[in-house]
């Protein structure tokens, strides 16, 4: 796998997460009242609906910003994975329950239904985990100068 391909792949995954979280965060912020009421229908999270209706959109927008900035992209990717993991656990708990509850997700994602939502979440989760593993392995790669015997490049930053 070439360095250029790796960089492109990581950027593409990060951009996909920016698209997803920025869209979800903005939709939940714009339609916050609907998002709050939808959460009240869910027994497991209804008690915390007040808090979650603020924290979830804020977390999504913050993660989109962290993923946008190259220096914070890796931290953003870890955060995005953890948030996606918590969404997936919640989706599985709803999907396996006997009571059909309305989806608290933002915008067009709610059109997918719970099964479609679960597939989307798992796809994003696996992709994010794979990207984190690749990023860690990619960061361990070092280029040594043949003449000076010193590292000329570490990760994606050139050492002077």
């Amino acid at each position: 796998m070439t360095r250029k391909f790796m960089t492109r792949y990581i950027d593409c995954v990060a951009a996909a997460f920016v698209l997803l979280y920025l869209y979800a965060g903005l939709t939940k912020t714009i339609h916050n009242a609907e998002f709050f009421h939808a959460m009240l229908h869910s027994p497991s999270i209804a008690k915390y609906a007040n808090l979650l209706s603020v924290i979830i959109p804020l977390s999504e927008l913050t993660l989109a910003l962290l993923l946008f900035i190259p220096k914070t992209r890796f931290i953003g990717l870890i955060g995005a994975t953890l948030l996606m993991l918590s969404f997936t656990v919640y989706t599985i708990s709803i999907y396996s329950s006997s009571h059909p509850l309305p989806c608290t997700c933002g915008g067009i994602i709610q059109q997918l239904g719970w099964s479609g939502h679960l597939i989307l979440n798992i796809t994003f989760l696996i992709t994010a985990l794979l990207t984190i593993i690749l990023q860690i392995r990619f960061n361990d790669f070092m280029i040594i100068s043949r003449s000076s015997r010193k590292p000329v490049e570490y990760s994606r930053q050139t050492i002077q």
Partner: protein
Amino acid sequence: MKKFSLFIIAAAIAIGFSAFTSPKSSTTYYYQDSSNQWQSIDGSLVSCIPGTVNNCFETINGTSRQIFKSMSTSDPLKYN
């Protein structure tokens, strides 16, 4: 600027989509009025807080009404 292009496009699509996303249509729930006639209620207006009581009751027009998912008393809206 070039390396940001992918992210700028993603952000623009996200902002564009969210601007044109209308609020979601909520589920319709049902309750019985004083004459035992079924009335519908917009799901977004149902906000009973879960507790130790299983069935959801909502104050509608000053009266506490039990909420049902469909027009059947065997299908109440439940919490906890």
